[in-house]
Structure formats: structure tokens, C-alpha cells
């Protein structure tokens, strides 16, 4: 197996810029009503996912919560596939069926996009279990917010991971708020990282606004896990610049607090470090930024032009009660016939879609007294 290679820092800066520009554009497209449902932006937190991904191999497993656009992009999902998903188009990373909160990209080992707070943490344990079971040295990265650490499933998963010594890193993206609830008001611990102790795993606090610190700390932990599987817990302290979702004015925070974090902006910081060290000129930075903006603009065009998922897709990817099973992603393109039930997806009520007998109403015999 390949050893962890550190990704080029300029390349990772470009990635952070892509994430930032993507989210800004997503925000604008949401306001233009091109995007529906809930939409949670990652602006301000870029160093966490970029630092973590820079320390991993592409075949390591990654799973996260609903604030997930950045995690897909960082894993290599194209801006096109991400924007198209937000637009609900068939070219999206989840074929337009998942939406903002449910990004998936198996090819890039991005296992979602999970919108029930805390519910994916046990899945991460399962993925790590599978790696250990198969004697692979993959590591699972499990991202979640500070709001997730008080869910039962989270605790059960950490205990299982500790008990079975599973190769998983639980990365808490602590942006100090779960919607309008601060960590102080949600959690009985002084420090989130103290959760690790209860489950017999190493815990680390990292500055989530610093790409290098996240990458280096994660790098150490990953090297240790690959040698001898065990879980670890990382609390990355960071900040989301925007409201919780597009509808949240975030009036529970002060302007001053936001400004304080903006001064530590992860992109500005890495850029300054690189230019101080003579690794990046202003012109080079401008080029990276221009390229990020162009990719994102192109992704909007791509999403606009893309087709909607066909109605048949409703049943194509769903197991239904009459023994007709859904089909896996890889096989789906080869499949030409669709389940007979698809007809009921055409917007008309029919007895067929009710789980009743498939016999048409007209042919039913009826007895009337």
C-alpha cells in the first residue's frame, strides 16, 4: 500500500479557494432559487477538510454530516457534479436525488453527506471495521459538528471503536454553534476533546483555521493508525462565517466574534505563509483564484444545461415491496428495463402504487348487494 504522501500545499490552497468560491456561488444561486431545500455553507472552515484530506490517501474512507459540499470537492468530486446536485440534476453526484445535504461519491471514497445529526458516526465505525476485517491499512475520516457529540449514536459508536480498536478518526468540526445553541449551552464538558478519554482513545485539539496544523496533526495520527489500528478523536476549532443555513440570520453571535475569526481566515493565512516562504507570488495566487472562479462559473452553466433525473429513477434505485429490488450504482447504466411500477410515478393515482394487488381496477370482480 502507498504511504501517506503530503499533497502539495499550493494545490491544497487552490482546493480551499475552489471550496470558498463554490460556496459563495451556491449561496447566490440559492437566493436565485435555483437550489431548493436546506443549504449549509462551509465558508470559514476550509482548512479542516483540506488539512485532513492532505494527510490522507485517496482510498481512505471519508464520511461527514450535511455541511458536505466541501468534503466532496476536497475528495475530488468535480464542481460540476456538486453544483448539478444542488440544482437537482441527473448529472449531480447523487443524481439529483440527494440534494445539498446528501452528497455521495463512491469513486472518490466520499460516503456522504448525512443529514440526521450524529447518525453517520456509527457508519464510520462500520467502515473502519470493514478495513480492519479485510486487513487493509485504510483509515476512516469521520467529520461531524459540535452539535453531534450529544447524540446516543455518537457515544455508542465511539465505544465500539474504542472496544474493537477500529482505524477511524472522529473529527469534530467545532464551530462553537449548533444552529443557535453554543457548545456551552449544549455540552456538560469543559472541552469537547475530553469525550475521547471516556472511550480510551487519544484526543487532540487542533487549530481548525490553520491548514498546516490540521494536516500535520492528522498526519501523525494516521501514521500511528496505519501501523496499529486504533481510533482517535480530533477537535478542530473553527468558525462558520455564515448562518447555520441559508435562512438563519445568526443573530445569536456578535459581529466582533465573526471579525475576530475572519482575521484568522484559513485561506489568507496559508497564502501569507506560502508567499513569505517564497512559494507563491501574488500573480500566482490571482491565477489560482481566477481558475477557481472559472471552474465554479462553468459548474453553474453545466448544472443549468444538465437534464433533470427521469421519473423512472424514482423506482430504479429503490427496493420496493413486491420483490423488485433496486439496482446498485455501477450496474444501473447497463440496466435498460425498469420496474413495471414506474408507470405510477407519472403523477397519476393508481391502485398499483398502493401496495395492493397489481390487478387493474377494471378487471376486479365486484359484488354488490
Amino acid at each position: 500500500m502507498a504511504q501517506p504522501e503530503q499533497r502539495d500545499e499550493v494545490e491544497m490552497l487552490a482546493m480551499m479557494l475552489l471550496i470558498r468560491r463554490f460556496e459563495e456561488r451556491a449561496s447566490q444561486q440559492y437566493q436565485a432559487q435555483k437550489i431548493g431545500g436546506f443549504c449549509h455553507l462551509y465558508i470559514g472552515q476550509e482548512a479542516v477538510v483540506a488539512g485532513a484530506v492532505a494527510a490522507t490517501r485517496p482510498d481512505d474512507y471519508l464520511i461527514t454530516a450535511y455541511r458536505d459540499h466541501a468534503h466532496a470537492l476536497a475528495r475530488g468530486t468535480s464542481a460540476n457534479a456538486c453544483m448539478a446536485e444542488l440544482f437537482g440534476k441527473v448529472t449531480g453526484c447523487s443524481r439529483g436525488l440527494g440534494g445539498s445535504m446528501h452528497f455521495f461519491d463512491k469513486a472518490n471514497h466520499m460516503y456522504g453527506g448525512h443529514a440526521i445529526v450524529g447518525a453517520h458516526v456509527p457508519l464510520a465505525a462500520g467502515m473502519a471495521f470493514a478495513s480492519k476485517y479485510r486487513k487493509e491499512d485504510r483509515v476512516t475520516l469521520c467529520f461531524f459538528g459540535d452539535g453531534a457529540i450529544n447524540q446516543g449514536g455518537f457515544h455508542e459508536a465511539l465505544n465500539l471503536a474504542g472496544l474493537f480498536k477500529l482505524p477511524v478518526i472522529f473529527i469534530c468540526e467545532n464551530n462553537f454553534f449548533a444552529m443557535g445553541t453554543s457548545v456551552k449551552r449544549s455540552t456538560s464538558l469543559k472541552e469537547i476533546v475530553d469525550r475521547a478519554e471516556g472511550y480510551d482513545m487519544p484526543g487532540e485539539v487542533v487549530d481548525g483555521m490553520s491548514f498546516r496544523e490540521v494536516r500535520d496533526k492528522l498526519g501523525e495520527i494516521i501514521a500511528s493508525i496505519r501501523k496499529d489500528p486504533h481510533p482517535a478523536f480530533v477537535e478542530a476549532r473553527t468558525y462558520r462565517y455564515r448562518g447555520h443555513s441559508m435562512s438563519d440570520p445568526a443573530s445569536y453571535r456578535t459581529k466582533e466574534e465573526l471579525e475576530k475569526y475572519r482575521e484568522e481566515d484559513p485561506i489568507t493565512r496559508l497564502r501569507a505563509q506560502l508567499s513569505r516562504e517564497g512559494k507563491l507570488t501574488n500573480e500566482q495566487f490571482d491565477k489560482l483564484d481566477k481558475s477557481a472562479k472559472e471552474q465554479v462559473m462553468a459548474s453553474v452553466k453545466f448544472a443549468e444545461k444538465s437534464a433533470e433525473p427521469p421519473l423512472e429513477d424514482l423506482y430504479k434505485y429503490t427496493y420496493v415491496g413486491d420483490g423488485e429490488s433496486g439496482v446498485a450504482f455501477e450496474e444501473s447504466s447497463e440496466r435498460t428495463t425498469v420496474p413495471a411500477r414506474k408507470t405510477s410515478a407519472r403523477g397519476t393515482a393508481s391502485s398499483k402504487n398502493n401496495g395492493d394487488s397489481a390487478e387493474p381496477v377494471a378487471t376486479r370482480s365486484r359484488k354488490k348487494a
Binding site: 431545500g37 437537482g88 446528501h102 450529544n150 420496493v320 410515478a345 403523477g347 391502485s351 354488490k368
Partner: protein
């Protein structure tokens, strides 16, 4: 009477019951300082204080269970789920603890708890956030379930639920929160009994049985059908459990044709039980097979066009009626 929103009606019901009974308190995510994710609890923290309007961490299983425990020793909690999709995290508490306690203890423990919040698909929230949970909970003996479709019902049913000595689920609907309707003045103690359906429109040719979000769809369908000389009666169940069987049977005995418009999924959905009971009790009154309009039997897609294809709507109800009229 005056006109207020569904949200305001719920807010009044909460405020009146919390003011009336010191054992009543409200607990849930973002209910206090944020004034509710959907602003249903607006102003309650200011009025009643942090001892009675309580913000919780994201721990549905924990705070639902806490509520049931508090109810075992005499309090009357109102537990808000930000949406009933998240109540699934607390499924064990709602299904296994709340309704079983009375029976299991040989009648010693009533669980006077109210679980409330928006239920059912809203708009493009995807598979995890769009659950219509009524058919899941309706399967559990010991739970009562109501589904207010108007501001008046929202207020009257919620107040009744809070005073009930059993666990009651008040399943609201997000897209109703800002809708307005006539409600009695504030000095009226508005209590609407559980298990009483309302006839929203009288008709003679077909009965459309509806609840929650399908009520306005059924009324619009009836309106449309009237133009085609089909006179539809629209029943709003208001409560799923107890269900007003006499009202259902009386209407069907008058019209002899039935379309059930439900917002949940078809397989083992609420309409399946209603269908069974109608044919069991008044088979001879039926002139045509009972029709059901429900969701398609799939997880909710994000894409808007597909979501619309999954959801019940007015056109589907009209088509179902025309099949049998």
C-alpha cells in the same frame, strides 16, 4: 372570532396551557433562546423563563425519555421535535416507553406527555427530512395522534393533547405555519376533542377522506370536480387515533364511493386501515373499489419534479375520483 396564523394558534395553545398548569413545560431543540426553529414558541422564554421553556442539546432519544420519566412522576411535558423526521432517533422512547408504561405497570403509570412538531414532507428536503410518520406511530397501541389542518384545530387539538393523560402526538405541518384562519377569541378556552372528524364540504357523489396537508388538496379537488358535476364530500379526520369511524361510515353510506387522500406512504399507510374498516363494516354501501392517493412507495427524492411526482396532489385526487365516478 379573529384571524390568526397556524403558528400563532399553536403558540397561544402552548402559552395558555403553560400558564394554566404549573406541571406543564416545553422542551426541545432551539425552543427557548432561538424562539423555535419555526418560531412556534416565539416569546415563551421571555414570558415563562428558562425553567419552563427549555433548550436541549441535539439528543432526541435523551430528552424524549427525560420527558417520559418526568411524566411518570407527575409533570406534563411538551416535547418539541424540530421535525418528526428527527423523532425517529427517539423511536424507542416514543414506541416502547411512552405507550407501554400504563399497561405494563398494570395501570399504575399514566404518561401525560405531548410530542409535537412538523410532520411530513415539506419542500425538497430529501429522504432523511421528509418522513410522514403517522403510519409508523398509528401502529402502536397506546399512542394518540392528531393532525390539525387549520389554525383553529391547531389550537384546540394541542390544548386537548396537553391535558390528556396519555401520550399524544400532535403532528403539525410546516407549510401550514404561516397560513391564517378563524379562531375563537383569546378568552375562549378552545378545546377540540380527539377523535372527532370535521366535514369540510358536503357532497353526495363521493367521499374524499383527508387529513393534514391533503385537506386543502381535497378541497381544491372537490372544487374542480364541482365544475364537472361531481359533488364531493370532504372529510378532515383531524385525529388519526382515535379515528372517527362513525363520521367515516356515515359519509360513505351517503355517497357510496371513497377516495382516501393521505400524506404518508401507501404500504401499511393510514388509508390501508381505513380501507379495511370500511369494507369490513359497510361493504354493502360501496358502489366502487376504494381509491387511495398516497405518496409513491419510495424514499423522497430531492429533485423537485420527482418530489412532486411522489407527493399526493389535487390532480391525483381528481383522477382517483374520476376513476370511480
Amino acid at each position: 372570532m379573529r384571524e390568526i396564523t397556524y403558528r400563532q394558534a399553536l403558540n397561544e395553545a402552548l402559552a395558555e396551557e403553560i400558564a394554566r398548569d404549573p406541571n406543564v413545560f416545553l422542551m426541545g431543540e432551539e425552543v427557548a433562546e432561538y424562539n423555535g426553529a419555526y418560531k412556534v414558541s416565539q416569546g415563551l422564554l421571555d414570558r415563562f423563563g428558562a425553567e419552563r421553556i427549555i433548550d436541549t442539546p441535539i439528543s432526541e432519544n435523551g430528552f424524549a425519555g427525560l420527558g417520559i420519566g418526568a411524566a411518570m412522576v407527575g409533570l406534563r411535558p411538551i416535547v418539541e421535535f424540530m421535525t418528526f423526521s428527527f423523532s425517529l432517533v427517539a423511536f424507542d422512547q416514543i414506541v416502547n416507553n411512552a405507550p407501554n408504561m400504563l399497561t405494563m405497570s398494570g395501570g399504575q403509570f399514566n404518561i401525560p406527555i405531548t410530542f409535537r412538531g412538523p410532520n411530513g414532507p415539506a419542500h425538497q428536503l430529501g429522504a432523511t427530512h421528509s418522513h410522514a410518520t403517522e403510519c409508523l406511530y398509528a401502529n402502536v397501541p397506546g399512542l394518540k395522534i392528531c393532525t390539525p389542518a387549520t389554525p383553529r384545530d391547531a389550537k384546540g387539538l394541542l390544548k386537548t393533547a396537553i391535558r390528556d393523560n396519555n401520550p399524544v402526538l400532535v403532528l403539525e405541518f410546516e407549510l401550514f405555519y404561516s397560513q391564517k384562519g378563524q379562531v375563537e377569541d383569546e378568552d375562549v378556552d378552545l378545546l377540540i376533542p380527539l377523535g372527532e372528524a370535521a366535514t369540510r364540504r358536503e357532497g353526495s357523489d363521493v367521499t374524499i377522506i383527508s387529513y393534514a396537508q391533503t385537506v386543502p388538496m381535497a378541497l381544491a379537488a372537490a372544487e374542480q370536480l364541482a365544475g364537472e358535476k361531481i359533488n364531493a364530500e370532504v372529510i378532515d379526520l383531524r385525529s388519526i387515533k382515535p379515528l372517527d369511524w362513525p363520521a367515516v361510515f356515515a359519509s360513505v353510506s351517503k355517497t357510496h364511493r371513497v377516495v382516501i387522500a393521505e400524506q404518508d406512504r401507501p404500504f401499511c399507510g393510514v388509508g390501508a386501515e381505513i380501507t379495511y374498516r370500511i369494507q369490513q363494516e359497510i361493504f354493502d354501501e360501496l358502489d366502487a373499489p376504494i381509491q387511495r392517493v398516497a405518496q409513491e412507495d419510495v424514499p423522497m427524492p430531492y429533485n423537485e419534479r420527482l418530489e412532486q411526482a411522489v407527493l399526493p396532489n389535487t390532480e391525483k385526487i381528481v383522477a382517483a375520483v374520476k376513476k370511480i365516478c
